[in-house]
């Protein structure tokens, strides 16, 4: 009886509509252990590579210069950038920095270098709670992202919300549906056997419902990223997360 009561309370606490639960909680213990151990976590290879690139290219301004270090900064992204007059995620911020301060070409989305740098910068915010600004100029992106989340699309005619708001916790064959939070990304997916961006994850979701995936870095994916960050507000950044 007591065990049943505890099981019910556990279920009731997990089933609370407002509770934000990291995708980590939906993983097997083995995958969780892989993420937890920095020496075993394959995503750390990208973080370390990013650390080297950062030391070569960015450290003049950031750790030694007036811009200080970037600890906690990724928790506030995506953010509207006044100079660029658009919504920038970490990948966009890095490329903007390269363009303005290094007079360098932007790095291609999903290139090894951009994944490494964005993983490094996001890792500097590991343990920080997501806290994005959705007011002012960011508001229209937020609305656009929310619309994308609730819009049915693809041959399967499914909205993101139907799985990740309405049916999380249920089983799709052997996989428990998560709440669809972005806090692991850039992250290492076992399915990819590689590090990948959140936008690459979006493309997989869209392809899964047989919707035409949007371009990496596209405005609608950045807007969706902002909506998801707001939806996951308070959740701790886990980069580099490991996901199935």
């Amino acid at each position: 009886m007591r065990a049943a009561c505890i099981a019910f309370l556990l279920w009731a606490s997990l089933a609370s509509a407002d509770e934000v639960i990291s995708g980590y909680e939906f993983l097997t213990p083995e995958t969780q252990a892989l993420q937890d151990d920095d020496f075993a976590n394959p995503g750390m290879l990208w973080v370390e590579e990013g650390g080297s690139l950062f030391a070569q290219q960015c450290a003049d301004c950031h750790t030694q210069g007036s811009n200080g270090n970037l600890e906690g900064v990724a928790a506030r992204y995506p953010a509207f950038d006044q100079d660029a007059q658009t919504l920038l995620n970490i990948e966009g911020r890095i490329n903007r920095c390269r363009e303005i301060h290094l007079q360098a070409e932007p790095l291609a989305y999903e290139s090894k270098a951009l994944l490494a740098l964005s993983a490094y910068v996001a890792n500097l915010s590991k343990g920080h709670a997501i806290d994005v600004d959705i007011d002012g100029a960011a508001q229209r992106y937020f609305t656009e992202g929310r619309d994308y989340f609730f819009r049915r699309k693809g041959q399967f005619n499914l909205a993101c919300s139907q799985c990740h708001d309405d049916h999380w916790g249920r089983m799709l064959r052997g996989d428990r549906i998560s709440q669809g939070h972005p806090n692991a990304f850039p992250g290492y997916r076992l399915e990819w056997q590689a590090m990948g961006s959140l936008h690459r994850r979006f493309q997989d979701c869209d392809a899964g419902i047989r919707a035409q995936p949007l371009a990496l870095g596209s405005r609608r994916y950045r807007s969706l990223e902002l909506y998801l960050a707001w939806r996951a507000r308070g959740l701790i950044i886990e980069v580099p997360g490991v996901r199935r």
Binding site: K153, Q155, F156, N157, D166, H167, M171, L172, G174
Partner: protein, 140 residues
């Protein structure tokens, strides 16, 4: 009783089907189908893969999903016409359904270029499912 004639566009030619109440009485094809092929449609990843979301007690397949209802007794709960309509387009019965429409090509958005104008399943696959599911009559 509500009567509704819906028009479906498949590869340029219009196919009409008849919705009566919450069912679709007429088969989508007159081809003979076997329950055994319905089982394959239900299970195969390349076909319906219904087991992703639905469970059947009389099915020896691991990790059956539970996003949709258990269908072990669906043959007792629903007529073949009702089962057919729910596969063709469950949103006719419940606009908020999470069940994808398996035989509809209109009023969809951002469909992958490789699938534009195609139904998820063929008429034959759906009729095989209707036969197979109508035989699921396990009493609770």
């Amino acid at each position: 009783m509500r009567l509704l004639v819906a028009t479906l566009l498949i590869a340029g030619c219009a196919v009409e089907y008849l919705v009566v109440g919450d069912g679709m009485p007429a088969p989508l094809t007159k081809d003979a189908v076997l329950a055994e092929s319905g089982r394959d449609v239900f299970v195969d990843r390349e076909q319906g893969h219904c087991v992703l979301c639905h469970a059947l007690e009389n099915l020896d397949v691991p990790f059956q999903g539970n996003v949709g209802p258990d269908l072990s007794d669906v043959g007792l709960r629903l007529t073949p016409a009702q089962i057919r309509l729910r596969i063709v387009d469950a949103s006719v019965v419940n606009p908020r359904t999470v069940m994808p429409p398996y035989y509809r090509t209109t009023d969809l958005h951002q469909v992958a270029e490789s699938h534009v104008g195609e139904t998820v399943l063929s008429a034959r696959q759906i009729e095989a499912l209707v036969v197979f599911l109508s035989l699921q009559r396990k009493k609770a």
